[in-house]
Amino acid sequence: MSQSKDLLQGLERHREALTVYCARLLWSQEDLQDALQELMLAACRNCAQFAPGTDFRSWIFRIATLTCFNFNRRHQRNDGTTPFPLDEISGGIEQELEREYTYEEILRDPAAILGRLEDEVARACRDLTEKERAILLLKAVGSLTCSEIASVLGVPLGTAQGLLTRARMKMRERLSEYARRRGVPAAKESA
């Protein structure tokens, strides 16, 4: 009973983070309720494998990640669609410089700019590859360290750090591109 008590305390403690994590990692929002249900059942099934006192957060986020990956695969098989990772933003050196300039503008007041780009942040996250998205969310929503993320995904620490860096770069490029198109920094200056 003590183990299940630990499990339930842990689930309760992380319910918000797990809900947000799964909602953002799943390709289809319609799968959220089913995925959370499967997450709870899988946690109960594997309850005996969890050693009290060890890192519950990594353990439960690993189950959540595998559950969402399974749902995403099922989704792909059923309707034939493939979730598209973010297209590499390409262009000449002038575009690169322009993006860098825009990013510098965003860095002047990230909160003000991102407050206006909240939907775009969510869209940019959805356009990452599945593994990049999982890593970014494990860091941002799950507050896991890179070594914990590496253990959740079963990859070497260096790979986890590399993927996190790449995911962040893609997010920034995407937001810079969006801000430049919409003239967000310019709008801020004239405000």
Partner: protein
């Protein structure tokens, strides 16, 4: 280390994911380079803004957890999952009944940082066993009195860094007692208001509880709050916390 290299490492530095040596080199560079310091500050705010945006629950998801728990309970095979059944009921409505020490806000924040330290995700910004060097390091960096004392003979002081418990700035001291890693946090007493669950116990004397394998202690020492967490006997934890923080028990028990 030059500016280009520092900027390449900044995200990992801000995540406290770098080794002690690289982290120290970057700290040194940031102290002397206003441009990189400004960049580090902006990158930190950018990451925080990302984190906040991504941590907000997407629309229409707030009730998904409860609905999923109801359905999970309905599908349960009672013979094999009898032990967990009571728990799922608790998730549905009475979860707070089971919330133990691990759920107390201050204890949970200490547990989070301590585990991060154990996992290598939080390294000392200054490595020293000299309390006066630590006092000098913290001077002017934190809104808290950081007078310190000497650790007991069987305890090694490893170093320290500035950190946050939840959103409260504090001095973080790392030590070892035998095989156990010890984390000590010192913050200004005004920060106690940020921990409403722990506040009554601390104000009445001390918060003493257990989180997983760790014992937690938090008490008031004049104008500051001293917190300690380790997989140690609670009495030993208190003795070493009071010694290192320079706040011996009244009556001379050092």
């Amino acid at each position: 280390m030059n500016c280009d290299k520092v900027r390449r490492y900044l995200p990992l530095y801000l995540d406290s994911e770098l080794g002690t040596e690289t982290s120290y080199e970057i700290s040194r560079h940031l102290e002397s380079c206003p441009a990189c310091r400004a960049r580090a500050d902006a990158e930190g705010r950018m990451e925080e803004a990302f984190r906040e945006a991504l941590s907000k629950a997407p629309q229409g998801t707030s009730e998904a957890w409860d609905r999923a728990a109801h359905r999970a309970l309905g599908r349960r095979d009672r013979r094999s999952w009898i032990a967990a059944a009571a728990g799922l009921l608790l998730i549905l409505g009475a979860g707070a009944y089971l919330l133990g020490a691990g759920e107390i806000d201050l204890a949970a924040a200490m547990d989070h940082s301590h585990r991060k330290y154990l996992a290598g995700g939080l390294a000392p910004a200054i490595e020293t066993s000299d309390p006066s060097a630590l006092v000098a390091y913290f001077r002017g960096k934190l809104p808290v009195r950081t007078t310190l004392g000497l650790p007991p003979e069987d305890v090694s002081l490893l170093g320290g860094r500035c950190c946050y418990l939840d959103r409260s700035p504090c001095a973080y001291l790392m030590a070892h007692a035998g095989n156990a890693a010890v984390s000590i946090f010192i913050m200004d007493a005004s920060q106690l208001a940020a921990f409403p669950e722990a506040r009554p116990a601390v104000e009445e004397g001390a918060l003493r509880c257990r989180v997983g394998p760790f014992h937690v202690l938090a008490y008031r020492d004049g104008d500051r709050i001293v917190c300690a967490i380790a997989d140690l006997d609670p009495e030993k934890l208190e003795i070493l916390a009071r010694a290192i923080s320079g706040s011996p028990l009244k009556g001379g028990n050092k």
